[in-house]
């Protein structure tokens, strides 16, 4: 049971999801010699009107998770349930409806915008494809969202290559919002924006959430953005969630050694503030061959012998604040013994 969703039915329920990519070798007979375990048993829920923030090391599986929710990659294992409906059972009209209900901003604003479409058609596309809105109304809506993201509606007839990086990112945001979605997947939505326009977009996302009850899955390396927008935060490491709680708890009282290192490495937003940082040492581990036991073991400053062999479970350590680390007795699997700690509590 997660402590996050309360009694309300979650809008999105990600249930023990896995995604493995085969690694092929051989020129003529390409055969899998192993698997990249990009997402390896991840579960969380998002309630209506809530923002779930996802942070973690580059390559830990965040975008893959987003693609699974958007049905852009098939699941290897597990289930994703939207409003009580498993996504694997959607087809035809219900699939079309789902696609209209979920908006997305992809990490790469360049390749995600079709180069041969005008901005007007890119932004209006979700409305055209998933609804039967008349053309005039679509154009009005396009002008409205372009204005909201700080782009001149007069540029709607231009092509994506005529815009700067941050302008393209805002085109992608406008597209994600145009069809009045209920859930928006935001993969690095403001990474290319200056401080003022970034603040404008963040305020817009928050205002839309308050007015229309949107839910967001927010993936970002900018911890300030995550903290400001998220109700709950999950920290990923090498394909797995290692910590999950309310945003405030994760940022003010991080429990997992990886989360602590991550927060301490953030550069101060204001350059005049000096700060001590802990750089995580050691090789970046590979999802091809994750360490057995705790995946953070090879780099963890607090590692104990048990960590090398026994994989810690994600479990609530302090009321509702979940962590997967042997420093907390709740993470010790049933039956396993750790000196001084009895497993299975």
């Amino acid at each position: 049971m997660t402590a996050t969703a309360g009694s309300q039915q979650p809008l999105l329920d990600v249930q023990h999801v896995r995604k493995y990519f085969p690694v092929n070798q051989g020129v003529l007979f390409r055969r899998p010699v192993g698997y990249i375990k990009a997402v390896d048993d991840v579960a969380f829920t998002i309630a209506p009107g809530e923002t779930f923030g996802l942070v973690g090391e580059s390559g830990c599986g965040k975008s893959t998770l987003a693609k699974l929710i958007l049905l852009l990659e098939p699941l290897t294992e597990g289930e994703i349930v939207f409003e009580g409906q498993p996504l694997t059972r959607l087809s035809g009209e219900s699939l079309r409806k789902y696609r209209g209900t979920v908006g997305a901003v992809f990490q790469d604003p360049f390749s995600s915008l079709s180069p041969r479409m005008r901005v007007r058609d890119i932004v209006g596309d979700p409305l055209t494809v998933t609804t039967d809105t008349p053309r005039r109304q679509i154009e009005e809506r396009v002008a409205e969202v372009l204005d909201q993201v700080g782009l001149n509606p007069a540029t709607a007839s231009n092509y994506p290559h005529e815009f700067s990086g941050g302008q393209r990112q805002r085109i992608a945001i406008a597209r994600a919002l145009s069809a009045f979605p209920r859930l928006v997947i935001l993969d690095e939505p403001v990474s290319a924006l200056d401080a003022s326009i970034r603040a404008q977009i963040i305020n817009l996302l928050k205002a839309l959430q308050q007015d229309l009850g949107l839910s967001y899955l927010l993936i970002a390396h900018d911890l300030g953005t995550v903290r400001f927008l998220s109700d709950h935060v999950g920290v990923m490491y090498l394909g797995q969630l290692v910590e999950r709680s309310t945003s405030r708890r994760v940022f003010t009282n991080p429990l997992h050694p990886y989360t602590r290192a991550l927060l301490s490495a953030a550069l101060p937003v204001r350059p005049d503030v000096a700060r001590e940082e802990v750089v995580i040492s050691g090789e970046v581990p590979s999802p091809l061959d994750p360490p057995s036991g705790c995946r953070f073991f090879p780099r963890c400053p607090a590692a104990m012998p048990v960590c090398e062999t026994v994989q810690p479970l994600l479990a609530p350590a302090e009321d509702g604040h979940e962590v997967a680390c042997h420093l907390y007795p709740t993470s010790v699997p049933r039956g396993a013994t750790v000196p001084g700690i009895q497993g299975g509590t």
């Binding site: 580059s58 390559g59 390749s111 231009n158 290319a192 326009i197």
Partner: protein, 351 residues
């Protein structure tokens, strides 16, 4: 004939040696169906060997186009460099033939493009693309080349590089692609490295290691860097000086600490003011009121005037030239630093 900076076009397998870069009154315009976009309109700066200049400013203000102009990679035919000079050592890059420019690119000046996917070829694997520069410019091949690729991938923290070198770009995460492009830019040991938002997809720990790598390499090889970023924490960490751009021009330029300590231009002040304060929880973030200007039809005068709380009559009539405003806290050693601003507030010569 033009000679290449410093090493006079002789041995192509030696790393290129540091040279000074000077951009003078650069103008790069786009000719579109809707009119002329003055994306870069009179940009000047110098970059000494071993120095790092931060380029910050509003989204759409011309940072990427300035960088692309230095490499003469402005998208043609719509985009054209219509004026200015770009000196690398004693060579004006704008006077070089296409062929000569190709020798400069990648070898003497290399760039990390803002969009990693445009610089990666989807049909070649990582090993081939990362190795290319070392092969052409450093003359490496065989096992030497393989080792070099492994070293570069390890530098940018790609896990299991011996396996991942066989991957294609689409098999990499966003941040891994960005680091691959970084590795390619570093591979030929350039004398000027232009990095256009090279860390936007990196988590803070890998970012810290990457910035440290750049600093270490810079110390060793004395290359200079232009670093485009929206992250002022990065600017404070790696940049010696900062130039702030707005609507196609540099509106303020100063040593890093000086700029953050006492910004002069009202846009720069407002930008720094919109950085969120991490220690206070607020309901709404601060933004600069008003809309960014449209570069299609800039009004006469200062382009920030419609949003500027200090605008005067002259501001809407005449574009402000660049004034020296004087250093607030003179530094201890080194040559006298300068702090310039393109704003009429500093035009009376009293400051």
């Amino acid at each position: 004939m033009t000679t290449f900076p410093s090493d006079a076009g002789t041995s192509l397998d030696a790393p290129s040696s540091p040279s000074r870069l000077e951009v003078k009154d650069l103008q790069t315009w786009f000719y579109t169906g809707r009119g002329v976009v003055k994306a870069v309109d009179g940009v000047s700066f110098t970059l000494e060997p071993g120095e790092t200049l931060g380029l910050v400013g509003e989204s759409g203000s011309g940072k990427s186009i300035t960088c692309l102009s230095i490499l003469r990679l402005v998208p043609e035919p719509a985009g054209r460099i219509i004026g200015g000079e770009i000196w690398l050592g004693d060579t004006d890059l704008l006077q070089l033939s296409r062929h000569e420019m190709e020798q400069i690119r990648g070898r003497h000046v290399s760039m990390v493009l803002q969009d990693p996917m445009t610089s990666l070829n989807p049909v070649f694997n990582v090993e081939k693309q990362v190795g290319e520069g070392s092969m052409y410019h450093l003359g490496l091949h065989g096992s030497g080349l393989k080792d070099r690729v492994q070293q570069l991938l390890r530098w940018v923290r790609i896990p299991a590089p011996e396996v991942r070198a066989n991957d294609y770009p689409h098999q990499m995460s966003g941040g891994m692609r960005q680091r691959i492009v970084g590795a390619i830019a570093l591979s030929s040991q350039p004398s000027v490295l232009i990095a256009d938002e090279p860390t936007t997809s990196l988590d803070v720990t890998i970012q810290a290691q990457y910035l440290q790598l750049l600093k270490d390499l810079q110390e060793e090889h004395r290359f200079s860097m232009i670093f485009v970023t929206h992250d002022f924490g990065i600017v404070a960490r790696v940049c010696d000086r900062v130039a702030v751009m707005y609507a196609g021009r540099i509106v303020e330029m100063a040593p890093t600490r000086e700029l953050f300590g006492s910004p002069r231009h009202p846009y720069a002040r407002a930008l720094i003011h919109s950085l969120p304060d991490p220690d206070t929880e607020v309901e709404w973030l601060t933004t600069i009121p008003g809309q960014p200007p449209s570069l299609y039809d800039l009004p006469p005068g200062c382009p920030f005037a419609p949003r500027c709380s200090e605008a005067m009559d002259i501001c809407t009539q005449e574009y402000p030239p660049t004034f020296e405003t004087g250093i607030a806290e003179p530094g201890a050693a080194g040559p006298p630093a300068s702090h310039t601003a393109a704003c009429w507030l500093y035009g009376d010569g009293s400051r």
